[in-house]
């Protein structure tokens, strides 16, 4: 039974465009006041999914419940979903007040709503200003006020920060989250920016080719990705193909060609042909001897990127180029050409069966 805590229930939705399956049996639920980020590469079906939820498109099968009521065939304006477009799309020749009042008037609502919405975002005193007189953050708040004045609890955000200067976008996303929480909104936020999604979502939904790959809390999906696609999409991974040899001390032992035995703490899997994945920040570099006797390899630094707090290394280990990230704390720093010892902590590794479509296909980044 659908409780009153639920804002949205997408129930087994499928959609085809000709022979292309844009969405395949997509199901998920969103709680009231939840901030959900929908992540996926281009062509994953994010836009189709949003259109179906908003009523701009009909699904071939499946149902959309909003606040417990079947709204699959309801007109977009009767669904209680408002929209804040990319780059805010404020009317530049209209004042703040006119921008917010415009939608209110169109819908035949009382002008009190416009006032109330501006008060909520704390900018009623700037009602006579023009958008260009406001900072990026204030413009975002006006756009939000305009969406709020339309009087809905579900807010749909389609790449709301991607048109902004990168650093301003970073600063504004936290404000967006704070406001959504303060106003008690349910938010569906579509983005291709992984860090943005992880940083502000209560839960993240990852789509690929019309299939839901995983839905869960940011930390959970990042640390426990269900497959290699999700692992690689949410953050970089080093992958090693190998054969499962056995188990010792609770670790699976994988024989990696050209590297030797790699231990991974994992549940046993029933496939011999496997892939071991380690995130760059999970690998440890030292210049001396390692105090561990497993998963220790000798390598040479190929390249070092200095990115402020972070050092990003490419390290040649045998025929592999392994990426390792570490904090620039002044203690240990390496340059190209340095010989190093690299340790892969077994408990930070992830083990997957070798993907049926092949490793390269699974890790393809082009077209993301």
């Amino acid at each position: 039974m659908i409780g009153n805590m639920e804002a949205l229930f997408v129930d087994s939705v499928s959609k085809k465009y000709g022979s292309i399956r844009a969405l395949n049996n997509v199901s998920f639920r969103v709680d009231k006041r939840e901030y959900l980020c929908i992540l996926g590469p281009i062509g994953a079906g994010k836009t189709t999914l949003l259109k179906i939820i908003s009523g701009l498109l009909l699904p071939d099968s499946g149902r959309i419940y909003i606040d417990g009521v079947d709204k699959t065939f309801e007109a977009p304006e009767n669904r209680g979903i408002s929209y804040m477009p990319q780059g805010y799309a404020l009317f530049p020749h209209m004042t703040v007040w006119e921008n917010v009042a415009y939608g209110v008037e169109m819908r035949g609502f009382s002008m009190d709503r416009a006032k109330e919405a501006l008060e909520i975002v704390g900018l009623y005193h700037r009602r006579n200003s023009y958008p260009h007189e406001l900072s990026g953050g204030q413009q975002q708040r006006i756009a939000l006020a305009r969406a709020l004045a339309a009087g809905t609890e579900i807010l749909r955000l389609d790449e709301p920060l991607s048109a902004l200067d990168v650093l301003i976008g970073v600063e504004l996303r936290y404000e967006l989250k704070r406001l959504a929480k303060k106003l008690g909104l349910t938010v569906l936020h579509v983005t291709h920016n992984v860090e943005e999604a992880l940083s502000i979502a209560d839960r993240v939904l990852i789509l690929k080719k019309g299939y839901v790959q995983q839905i869960g809390k940011p930390e959970h999906v990042y640390l426990n990705p269900v497959n290699l696609f999700v692992a690689n999409f949410l953050g970089e991974v080093n992958v090693f193909e190998g054969l499962l040899k056995g188990a010792r001390y609770g670790n699976s032992i994988v024989d990696v060609n050209g590297l030797g035995e790699v231990y991974v703490l994992s549940r046993p899997i029933d496939k011999w042909h496997v892939v071991v994945a380690f995130r760059p920040e999970d690998i440890i570099i030292t210049d001396g001897e390692s105090r561990y006797d497993i998963n220790v390899f000798k390598g040479v630094i190929l390249n070092r990127e200095f990115i402020g707090a972070l050092a990003k290394y490419q390290i040649a280990i045998g025929d592999y180029t392994v990426r390792v990230y570490s904090w620039n704390d002044g203690k240990c720093s390496f340059d190209a050409g340095d010989s190093v010892t690299v340790y892969f902590p077994p408990h930070r590794g992830i083990l997957y069966p070798y993907p049926r479509e092949g490793l390269l296909k699974m890790l393809e980044v082009e077209g993301l």
Binding site: D165, N303, E305
Partner: protein
């Protein structure tokens, strides 16, 4: 011998001043990135070197030759833009040898010049593909090959990775730098992405409102920002505080609304107004009190997971700070009481303006 030199260059577009009396020297073989917020003049910077835009004032030298009046085609530059401009009806090979073919009017010569560069760039694959059959990343490599084969020894790159998927761009940027170094070119690369600049540049030009705020190596910009704007732009989410020097001894004591920070004394006097910039990664959280200076008790107000790192918003005596730590440094829950150690900070003389204006992108 400096390869590119700008002396007191000024360029206006009507009311707007795109380049405001800038002077800079770029050495032979250097990879220089130009960064700054939208509208800071970074694209104009590139265009005056290319000769696409003429400055009103100032001199531009390439290899010690004054080029102000030299037409674009005689400057031996390759200009690569965000929008990849390949001839769509020509295959990759025809695209890359187009330059020498036009210049030498000889297929044999053009192919010879083309082959040598293409080999060096490991672009031997798929020479007979049409541009649209290639990924955007590879298309951009072809565009660069074409520029190099045309005889350019100075590459001007305007957001070359801007239209490429961010993941692919992270790999391509390293290739791009290696290519420039292998072919012994000089590159000037404009980008809005400061991480990209930090990653590949020998030196970075930070621009704002048509002026150069700082020109230095990535390390210099990060460890010794010339002013609060650079401290904010290189790094991001830096904490800025206004304070007064309470005492100036071996350590500088800065009073920020009653909170005392003890910092390295870089020559400030007692009573002087200063701006203190603290990078998020220079605050360390711990659950137990540690010895040493600048240890404050704090409360965690917000926790954001960024994958590689955690970002915290903490409160110390009513003041908010952003903190960033690697995921493996431990996790602190919202509302938990912690200790915050400020390990490093930059101090600037207060310019008298509102702090928001000092660091503003506009």
């Amino acid at each position: 011998m400096p390869k590119v030199k700008l002396v007191n260059v000024t360029k206006r577009y009507g009311e707007i001043i795109a380049l405001d009396d800038i002077s800079v020297e770029i050495d032979d073989g250097e990879y220089v990135c130009v960064v700054g917020p939208s509208g800071c003049g970074k694209s104009t910077f590139l265009k005056v070197i290319a000769g696409i835009v003429k400055p009103e004032k100032g001199e531009i030298y390439i290899d010690d030759v004054l080029v102000n009046d030299l037409p674009v085609r005689e400057r031996r530059i390759g200009f690569v833009m965000q929008d990849i401009l390949l001839f769509p009806h020509m295959i990759v090979w025809e695209n890359v040898i187009y330059g020498p073919l036009v210049q030498t009017a000889s297929y044999a010569k053009a192919e010879k010049i083309g082959s040598s560069v293409v080999q060096e760039m490991a672009l031997t694959l798929r020479k007979s593909a049409l541009p649209q059959e290639l990924s955007r990343g590879v298309q951009q490599k072809v565009a660069i090959a074409r520029a190099v084969i045309s005889g350019a020894n100075l590459l001007l790159l305007d957001e070359p990775l801007g239209s490429i998927d961010p993941r692919a761009a992270k790999m391509l940027r390293i290739e791009l730098r290696n290519l420039v170094k292998d072919l012994k070119l000089t590159a000037i690369h404009v980008t809005h992405n400061q991480e990209e600049a930090m990653s590949i540049a020998d030196k970075i030009v930070v621009m704002r409102k048509g002026r150069i705020e700082q020109y230095g190596t990535p390390g210099e910009l990060y460890y010794k920002p010339a002013n609060p704007f650079v401290a904010r732009f290189i790094g991001g989410e830096t904490n800025f505080l206004e304070g007064v020097v309470a005492s100036s001894g071996s350590l500088l004591e800065v009073d920020v609304e009653g909170l005392i920070f003890k910092l390295k004394n870089t020559g400030f006097r007692k009573g002087e107004r200063v701006i203190v910039a603290i990078r998020p990664e220079h605050i360390k959280l711990s659950s137990t009190k540690t010895a040493g200076e600048n240890v404050f008790s704090a409360k965690v107000k917000e926790v954001n997971f960024l994958g590689l790192t955690y970002r915290y918003l903490i409160e110390i005596d009513g003041l908010e700070f952003v903190v960033k730590q690697l995921r493996h440094a431990g996790v602190y829950k919202r509302n938990s009481e912690v200790y915050a150690v400020v390990r490093d900070a930059h101090i600037f003389k207060h310019p008298g303006l509102n702090i928001k204006e000092v660091i503003s992108y506009e």
